[in-house]
């Protein structure tokens, strides 16, 4: 037992690099202060721990309980009994105060708050609405939510995942809105994770994903607190992962990808037009290259004669078939996109101009590619960015459709669209159909789908999402 008593402190003292030990003699037993370099705020350790101990040096301190009562004034102070507790606190940036050879210690929250300051998220810039974005610090992220949801119903359940990283994960929901079954399902899935480390929230997303679905994204993600709050108010559950600025939300529906945060701050007509453009350009981006190939190869009768002559005159000198040509164009654009994403930002802009304009123009002038194919490829590539969460997936689907259209023509395209649709229609996440409110058709939810109605008309929360309280506002608010 004696051996055990010594072990906790000794083990901690053998931590090695980064350990800071400060011993202060008191009227009672000597007090040891242990902290981990870079994880603690030096000022907090000095002001809240060392200074307090020094001031109380003339008192007779003999136990951790006395340290807790007389010295540790910090809000987050806590007595730790087991080694595991101590280690966890220590690694998280707490300072541990040992009194003599006592096996218990007091942990004081001295975590450093150093990190990126709150700024507009680079992935979702808005011209209207809040500009704040989540950061890597979980505490700050929770604060951003708490600032906006001031109710006792806002609940946060904390869990730790990762054998080595021991990452803190917060599951947030509004108790009186979110369905308990959904919350339990999320908690159960997170608790069941047994992995060496969680580096980012996308790790958690892959565990929350429907196991049958490997292609479509089934977990929502955002960097904006106002978006998370609106989703929580619709009965969703948010998952914050320490170290990640991206907060996850479930259940997720495809329609969320055509909704922009700005839609809620604009007039409904403007928002509806924006959403219509987004869905139209996404569909056009997906289908246009395949239709171009199919029409040219098999169903050219559909193209009006004048168009056909224009296309034929520009494709005539091209050494490739329409199918090969379109594949080359799309792959070329995908290479440019990939390179652009990884290029240093200084070179990025100029190189992307060189890539897009010079390469495209040069290829057309050299007679390697035709202007209509380059134009369709470019239009398709740009259009996909109107649905930012599914851009890469649609890029892949677009290539598949071009392949099928090139081999099987319209027949193949219709079949593959049916395959795709029936697959997507069958997807469900936490009991919510992925394509709701289109399939199944939920009229009430359509008020915030493509054609957005006024906020005062949206009496109910989305019915596609399981929840305990479907009424968003009283009908008397309707004007």
């Amino acid at each position: 037992m004696k051996l055990d008593k010594d072990t906790s402190k000794k083990k901690l003292l053998s931590f090695g690099n980064g350990l800071r030990l400060r011993t202060i003699k008191t009227a009672g037993k000597p007090v040891d202060i242990l902290s981990l370099d870079a994880m603690v705020s030096d000022k907090t350790v000095s002001d809240c721990v060392i200074e307090s101990v020094v001031r109380a040096a003339d008192q007779k301190i003999t136990s951790a309980q006395e340290v807790f009562d007389k010295i540790a004034f910090g809000v987050g102070a806590e007595i730790c009994v087991t080694y595991e507790q101590m280690l966890k606190k220590f690694l998280n940036g707490n300072s541990l105060i040992f009194c003599g050879d006592e096996n218990t210690c007091v942990a004081v929250d001295t975590r450093t708050t150093e990190g990126r300051s709150i700024a507009q998220p680079p992935t979702s810039n808005v011209t209207k609405g809040p500009r704040e974005g989540f950061v890597e610090s979980m505490q700050q992220n929770v604060t951003l939510l708490r600032k906006r949801i001031k109710t006792v119903d806002f609940k946060i359940e904390n869990l730790n995942v990762g054998r080595y990283t021991d990452t803190m994960i917060s599951v947030c929901y509004i108790n009186s809105i979110a369905a308990r079954t959904t919350v339990d399902m999320v908690l159960q899935k997170i608790r069941a994770i047994d992995i060496d480390g969680i580096v980012d929230s996308s790790y958690i997303a892959s565990f929350l994903d429907n196991p049958k679905c490997s292609v479509f994204k089934m977990v929502g993600s955002t960097e904006k607190p106002d978006v998370v709050v609106s989703r929580l108010l619709e009965g969703r559950v948010a998952i914050i992962v320490d170290g990640s600025p991206i907060v996850l939300t479930v259940p997720y529906m495809f329609v969320e990808d055509i909704q922009s945060p700005e839609d809620y701050y604009d007039a409904p007509v403007i928002a509806s037009m924006g959403r219509f453009l987004r869905i139209f350009s996404a569909l056009a981006s997906l289908l246009l290259p395949a239709l171009y190939v199919t029409f040219q190869l098999y169903n050219y009768h559909i193209i009006p004669a004048k168009f056909l002559i224009t296309i034929l005159s520009s494709t005539d000198p091209i050494p490739f078939t329409p199918f090969t040509e379109m594949i080359v164009v799309l792959v070329l654009f995908d290479i440019l996109r990939e390179a652009n994403a990884r290029m240093p930002s200084i070179a990025g802009l100029s190189l992307s101009i060189i890539g897009a304009v010079v390469l495209g123009d040069a290829a057309v002038r050299a007679g390697l590619l035709s202007a209509p194919a380059v134009m369709i490829g470019a239009l398709s590539s740009v259009g996909l960015y109107t649905i930012p969460d599914n851009t890469l997936l649609f890029t892949l689907l677009r290539l598949i459709l071009v392949f099928i259209g090139g081999i099987m023509g319209l027949h193949g395209m219709i079949l593959s669209i049916m395959f795709l649709l029936s697959y997507v229609i069958s997807l469900e996440t936490f009991g919510t159909p992925y394509l709701a409110p289109f399939a199944p058709n939920i009229l009430s939810d359509r008020k915030d789908a493509i054609m957005k109605k006024k906020l005062t008309d949206q009496i109910k929360r989305p019915l596609a999402i399981k929840q305990d309280n479907v009424t968003r506002q009283e009908e008397s608010n309707e004007q």
């Binding site: 098999y298 169903n299 009768h301 559909i302 193209i303 009006p304 004669a305 004048k306 168009f307 056909l308 099987m408 023509g409 319209l410 027949h411 193949g412 219709i414 079949l415 669209i417 049916m418 395959f419 649709l421 029936s422 697959y423 229609i425 069958s426 469900e428 009991g431 919510t432 159909p433 394509l435 709701a436 289109f438 399939a439 199944p440 058709n441 019915l463 596609a464 399981k466």
Partner: protein, 375 residues
């Protein structure tokens, strides 16, 4: 989210499935029998169909215990007779699906002048059918819901384009050759109707809602009206030549577009209409699959691959050796052997209210506690 099939979904399925199969080779076959009055034959068969449909809707209402068609058969006519009925149903639905597929291939080659290899054509469809059969009836319901607007827009556009060139005086004089050829044609061609038979397989998953009868019968009447109008339009466009067109869907709008200015934009609508054909074919595949489940006592949640393959393989291979379309057309249209399936087309729906009532009564008496847990 409730995953039961909704009334609107069934209504949309009906509106998609009823008209489309009647616009391929059937008009010319009917025109051979009843001349320009063949659309009256269609109305006659539809009237009988509608009576059966009403009876079936009543059965849906009476099915308070949400029994499946198998449960109803088991509790009324017994397992053996039930299996025989399922076997007949399987053959009926399978033959219809096979003919639709061959007509679809023909539609493709007639429309786009592309001779597609049968295997290249049918294997992807069989794969799609297998995939959809595994997803269940709910998927068909949602798919119909999703595609309904775009398909009916195409439908509308096709009818609009065609009707500009139609001469509706071609349908006159009505009943010039008397009523008998019309009646005979109607009786001989019943095989191609009764498109609501798929509803037998939704009994368990569908709970009639408020005004379900109005919605469903409205949808059925609308579907019938569209079908009749399309066929009148066909006569109005082709008059004496109506007997000759093989794939009506791609022919009706051929005079209405100017190649130089708009291209054959109507073919784009034909292509969109193909969605409906595929939905119909895959739904029939699904129903065949369900029949096999019932015949071989496969539990609902299992849906083994072998039943999928057992339906898909003949669909792929049989037409290689047998000219399904011509033989079945001849058998059930010219020779009038369609009556062998009347037990499924008319007998089953007409007796379904009585059978459902008895089966539900027995179920209520049997299950006092514990109640059957709904899946």
């Amino acid at each position: 989210m409730n995953n039961k099939i909704k009334t609107e979904q069934v209504a949309m399925m009906l509106m998609l499935i009823v008209p489309v199969g009647k616009y391929l080779s059937l008009p010319s076959v009917l025109a051979k029998g009843a001349g320009r009055d063949y659309w009256i034959s269609i109305i006659l068969v539809f009237v009988v169909d509608f009576i059966c449909f009403l009876a079936f809707m009543w059965a849906l209402k009476l099915n308070t215990e949400r029994l499946s068609i198998k449960d109803i058969f088991d509790r009324t006519i017994g397992q053996a007779a039930g299996k025989i009925l399922f076997a007949i149903m399987f053959i009926y639905i399978y033959l219809r699906a096979a003919v639709i597929m061959e007509s679809c291939l023909e539609l493709f080659s007639v429309t786009f002048a592309i001779k597609t290899n049968w295997f290249a054509f049918i294997i992807p469809i069989a794969a799609l059918s297998m995939f959809m059969a595994r997803k269940g009836m709910n998927n068909f319901a949602r798919l119909s819901e999703m595609l309904f607007v775009i398909i009916y827009l195409s439908f509308g556009m096709m009818l609009f384009l065609s009707s500009r060139n139609a001469n509706f005086t071609n349908i006159k004089p009505i009943l010039d050759d008397g009523f008998q050829p019309v009646l005979e044609t109607a009786l001989k061609n019943t095989f191609w109707f009764s498109d609501f038979s798929f509803m037998a397989f939704i009994m368990r998953d569908y709970k009639p809602e408020k005004k379900y009868a109005l919605t469903l019968s409205g949808a059925y009447i609308a579907a019938m009206a569209v079908t009749v109008f399309m066929n009148i339009l066909y006569i109005a466009l082709f008059d004496q030549l109506a007997v000759q067109s093989q794939s009506v869907l791609s022919k009706v709008s051929q005079f209405s577009v100017k190649l130089t200015t708009s291209g054959r934009v109507d073919w784009l609508f034909v292509s969109i209409m193909l969605f409906t054909l595929f939905i119909k074919a895959t739904l029939e595949f699904f129903c065949c699959n369900e029949c096999l489940h019932y015949i071989f006592n496969v539990k609902k949640h299992k849906n083994p691959y072998w039943t999928n393959i057992a339906v898909a393989l003949p669909m792929i291979i049989v037409p290689v050796f047998v000219n399904v379309k011509d033989n079945i057309f001849d058998l059930f249209s010219r020779d009038g052997y369609g009556f062998v399936f009347w037990i499924i087309q008319y007998g089953l729906p007409l007796f379904s209210p009585l059978m459902t009532y008895i089966a539900n009564k027995k179920e209520k008496e049997k299950v006092i506690y514990p109640r059957r847990v709904e899946e």
